[in-house]
Symmetry: C2
Subunit: 158 residues, 2 copies
């Protein structure tokens, strides 16, 4: 067994590590009674932007986790483009967020659970940047269950 | 000839009137050396949200005119949805902004010049809300020329 010392080279941290961090953001949203979705932007093994869904708090249907993580990362870098960065998000981005990722030219998008209704991979045409690598299904069950449980509770309350 | 008194019923104001207002926003962007695109959200003949492209000023590639007009309108209304509103925007929305309009459930989108490269109507599948009416080509030449002239000058400088 090969031991990897992540402390020495944080860029070696696996996608699962950062998805767990994105899930922490989703849990913050949950405590605010928001649809529990969280996102991170990571550059060279460092988290440079975080976000969680705030559509209710901000009364703004565009306040998705990814949009906030993109803006935070650009602020951190002082640069507009996120070419060498990875977006981690617990649920597959919607068309708006995938469209935003095009403009950021982000290097990778890693998402948890697929969204069969509003996920951008439902489109037949590519809307992300040609250079963006897409990876879906990382910690899919945990990420998906969090949202499904949220909506189940909402239905039972009403 | 029928005389329409717009003062008595501002909801009768034509699309051209509001596109001229959106062009004023585009000119504000131009003065800031931003790609000159402007947007308004109008409800019952009243402007309830304005925005112009601020991607350079805010160092944020998602800071499109439409995104800001949506957020401003939702703030004004204190409501998340813009069902009875119209978005006026000088250039055809991109995929991100059209994706955002889905979440707002906006009633109408009226745009000026078509964007053959990044405009959302280039996609074969509908990404706007099923109830959103789309009208393109209002004051197309003036809206388009403003952006073309901006890029022509940029090219000549470099």
């Amino acid at each position: 067994m090969k031991f990897i010392n992540f402390d020495n080279d944080p860029s070696l941290l696996p996608d699962e590590f950062f998805m767990k961090e994105a899930l922490k953001e989703a849990h913050i949203a949950l405590r605010l009674d928001e649809v529990p979705i969280g996102a991170l932007v990571v550059s060279n093994g460092r988290v440079i932007g975080r976000g969680h869904n705030l559509t209710e708090q901000l009364n703004d249907v565009t306040a998705h986790a990814e949009m906030q993580a993109f803006t935070a990362a650009a602020n951190f870098l002082g640069a507009k483009y996120l070419k060498d960065c990875t977006l981690y998000v617990t649920i597959e981005p919607c068309v708006m967020c995938a469209g935003a990722s095009y403009w950021t030219q982000i290097g990778r998008i890693v998402f948890g659970a697929y969204d069969k209704q509003r996920g951008f991979t439902q489109l037949k045409q590519r809307i992300t940047h040609p250079k963006t690598e897409i990876i879906g299904g990382i910690q899919e069950i945990e990420c998906g269950n969090l949202v499904q449980e949220f909506f189940r509770r909402k239905r039972n309350k009403s």
